[in-house]
């Protein structure tokens, strides 16, 4: 029994262990140099990632509250990889920061929350995990302690999450009222589409869409992304979105399957709105982080199309796309983080003539953006193709046509950056950036990911075999 406990909760326990290790490092007597501390932490995160691949078992714990299986393990490994990449990328920023252990403690706490959320098999458990993952995030947003804009971001973040939690809780309580249970499986069996249930479902879905910043619940995103440190922004836009999307897919597919025809229409409207509005706002942005924020909103619109597929292909394409998106977006954020921390520049205009001194970094950013835009041979092409294909399986070709045309709009703003880097003239372009080992390593992982996960079908086929 105890052995079961350790094996099933391995991922969560390792993270908890890491948090406590960091705590002891912090309160210990020894003064650590930031560089060595960061290297140790990165090594620990790497071990944490490796540990995810060994010794696995399926099962449930705590009276069906917590479950794990191979798919969930794979999703957690993805998040672990993402955390490692982000940590490597923010090396330069953290090197000068006074509170490195605190940063990682908060970061890992939210990760822990996400792990529990993914594994939740009970709606109350889910809610608890969600809160665990959100509250430290608000603190993280404010981690550039001297910047006013960061406090503003943190404030907006906490207010909007509190609001969305409120919606969620209201939905949960109504759902409990109509189904009489908190357990996912029992809720599912009690669903019959009564108006009250639909109402509670809409509240729940609103809570979810708040977190993944789908339109019309996207307004907090841009300000928070712009104000937060780049590391936190990339965490918000990739890891936290990925975790919520995993849960959203599994909840919609497994729990709310009886209401399938209802949420199909809701997601249809949401995805069209999200794609179009995300794209239109992204067109006009001048700040790189805001730009990536709106582009990530548009990406969510595409992901919602995959979810509307309501099939194994649908959930496989969503999880696969999240994997691709992780590599692509973190690749882009990696370059932005370097330019921001080493050259102090964050505007798109600053990227004009970027290619003159930073050839390799320009290509890295270009390939990441191509992947986000869905251009072959990057993995983004495959991801988008499969999402739209999964959506088209329902026979809703209007949705697919809108999405395909939106890909063209999105290409425009991605090419704007490419144009700035490669084509525009600039009298004083960004000087040569000396990236250092850790960020280079992170970017290399992203590039390999972008090329390999697409051209080699292993990743998709593995995910498909898991969801089937």
């Amino acid at each position: 029994m105890l052995a079961d406990f350790f094996i099933l909760m391995k991922a969560e326990l390792v993270i908890t262990l890491l948090i406590f290790t960091l705590l002891f490092l912090k309160i210990g007597n020894k003064e650590w140099r930031n560089e060595s501390l960061l290297n140790i932490i990165n090594l620990l995160l790497f071990i944490n990632l490796l540990s995810g691949f060994f010794i696995a078992k399926e099962g449930t714990l705590f009276g069906d509250m917590f479950r794990t299986n191979e798919l969930l393990r794979f999703e957690k490994n993805m998040l672990n990889l993402g955390i490692l990449i982000i940590s490597l990328q923010s090396y330069h920023w953290l090197k000068q920061h006074k509170h490195v252990p605190e940063f990682y403690m908060l970061l890992l706490s939210t990760l822990l929350g996400m792990f529990f959320m993914i594994s939740a098999n009970n709606i109350l458990m889910f809610y608890l995990a969600l809160e665990l993952s959100t509250i430290p995030l608000a603190a993280l947003c404010n981690f550039d302690l001297h910047k006013k804009i960061a406090s503003e971001a943190a404030f907006k973040m906490s207010i909007s999450s509190a609001f969305s939690s409120g919606l969620l809780l209201f939905g949960i309580s109504l759902l409990y009222g109509t189904t009489g249970s908190l357990n996912f499986a029992e809720i599912s069996s009690q669903l019959n589409g009564s108006p009250l249930q639909l109402f509670s479902f809409i509240l729940l879905l609103s809570g979810f869409t708040f977190k993944i910043s789908a339109v019309p619940f996207h307004l907090w995103t841009a300000d928070v992304y712009e104000g937060s440190p780049v590391a936190v922004t990339s965490y918000l836009s990739v890891i936290s979105k990925a975790a919520i999307l995993f849960v959203l897919v599994s909840v919609l597919y497994n729990v709310f399957q009886p209401l399938g025809s209802n949420w199909y229409n809701m997601l249809f409207v949401l995805s069209v709105l999200t794609m179009i509005i995300g794209n239109l706002f992204a067109l006009r942005q001048q700040n790189m982080k805001r730009f990536l924020a709106f582009s990530s909103i548009a990406q969510v619109g595409f992901i919602l199309i995959g979810i509307t597929g309501q099939s194994a292909e649908g959930s496989a394409s969503v999880i696969y796309f999240v994997l691709v998106y992780l590599f692509s977006n973190l690749g882009a954020f990696g370059v932005v983080a370097l330019v921001s921390s080493l050259a102090g520049k964050e505007n798109i205009d600053d990227y004009k003539g970027f290619y003159t001194h930073n050839k390799l970094l320009s290509w890295v950013l270009a390939i990441s953006l191509f992947s986000l835009a869905g251009i072959p041979p990057t993995a983004g092409f495959f991801g988008k193709f499969f999402l739209l294909l999964a959506g088209a399986a329902k026979g809703n070709y209007i949705l697919i046509t809108i999405a395909a045309l939106n890909m063209v709009i999105s290409l425009y703003y991605y090419l704007r950056i490419i144009k700035a880097m490669f084509m525009d003239e600039n009298k004083n372009p960004v000087e040569k950036i000396n990236a250092g080992l850790q960020p280079k390593l992170a970017l290399a992982i992203c590039m390999i990911g972008i090329i390999v996960t697409g051209l080699i079908s292993g990743a998709y086929n593995y995910i498909y075999s898991l969801v089937k």
Binding site: I375, L389, L411
Partner: protein, 498 residues
Amino acid sequence: MNLSLLVILPILNALLLLPFKEAKQVRLITLAGAVVQFILCFFLLYLFWQEKTTGNTSLMLFENNYKWYAPLNINFHTGVDGISVSMILLTAFVVLAGILVSWKQEKLSKEFFFLLLFLSAGAYGFFISIDLFTLFFFLELAVIPKFLLIGIWGSGKKEYSAMKLALMLMGGSALVFVGLAGIYFNTNINGAHSFDMLQIAQSNISEDIQKLFFPFAFIGFGIFTALFPFHTWVPDGHSSAPTAASMFLAGISMKLGGYGCLRVATWLMPDAAHHYSTIIIILACIAILYGAFATMMQTDLKYINAYSSISHCGFVLLGIGMLTQTAITGAVMQMVSHGLMTALFFAAIGMIYDRTHTRQVAQLSGLLKVMPFISAVFVIAGLCSLGLPGLSGFVAEMTVFMGSWQNADSFYRIATIIACASIVVTAVYILRATGQVIMGPITNNDYKSLKDAAWNEKLAAVILITGIVAIGVAPFWLNDLLRPATDIIMQKISAITK
């Protein structure tokens, strides 16, 4: 022969460039790779010939089918028929000539040749694909290198043109995607959906479905081949691009669209092709006439060739829309012919521009006296464009007209006559431009010291002229190559028209 080699070789060649720094080494490696590829393509032709003469009648030769995304039934399925082989040869000709013409490329030469090779890999991959997914993959693969080639190395309003081209072509592929998804979900082969063209061609998609998705596929591919009214990227894109990229754009890239219209839209959805043939013909006629008249008003040599490309590609669409075997054969011939001719034309314009630094017809004159070789190339390209017998343009256009006339209906006859009439307009603008640029006295004294073509430019021109003359003098080999392939397309079409 494993056809994947045709894609792998240019990509390996491109990757091989990465460690080298000097422009000299880079271009030598690129050229070596392109020559090997060129020989490989002829070897493919030889093998293909051999198979056909020994009586191999299968639809596609040298088939290879690798599993790719098994759960979605997506395979890396390659194979060639006569049409693909002729397009592959065209690609080999144009790429080799393009590399030779850009021999003096100084600015960022490594990136330039890298992108050029990448682009060619996309084209080769497109022509060998049987699986619609791989076809689409390679179609999109070829868009972004064009954007970068025009935007970085181009001239004039290059950023605008590059963006316009990229967005319009991506818009085209977005429509193609919807068409492909429609085809995919409406095929049922042993209970599974399929992207495999050979399987789709055998299963019959219902007529209503075809009518719904044919416009997506046809317009999508049509944007690539300057289908009116989606031709607006052509003049800007071609005229802003550097010489090699213009050659590639007009020579190969526009053919991706024509090939797709024929192979995907018409072959897989013949009922709809029949249903919409009137509209296709009307649009093609507009493109032919509009292109020709618009060319007359142009003063820039590159714009002249770009607008005349719209007119010439109209013949491709006209041939496809006519749906007779001769017309379709003519359409493919026109693709090959126009590819070679327009590449030669752009090469000549590039050579003139490199020396005189102007492309304005009014500022040029009497070049024959100082640059006899380049002028001769210019004249040959011009004559091929206006359809002089003995050059490929005549053969191709003649075949299209013959095929079009086979339709007895008066609508088709009138369309054919309109299309024929455009040749007169072509003669006007070609002869006028040639007369002004090549003939007459030298008005600008700076031109007197200009040098004639260097060895690389001569070689590039000779390669392309060889192709043009080979088709013009002995069209039967191309006809024999295409006939079995068009037979198969016709089988599906004639089943409806009867």
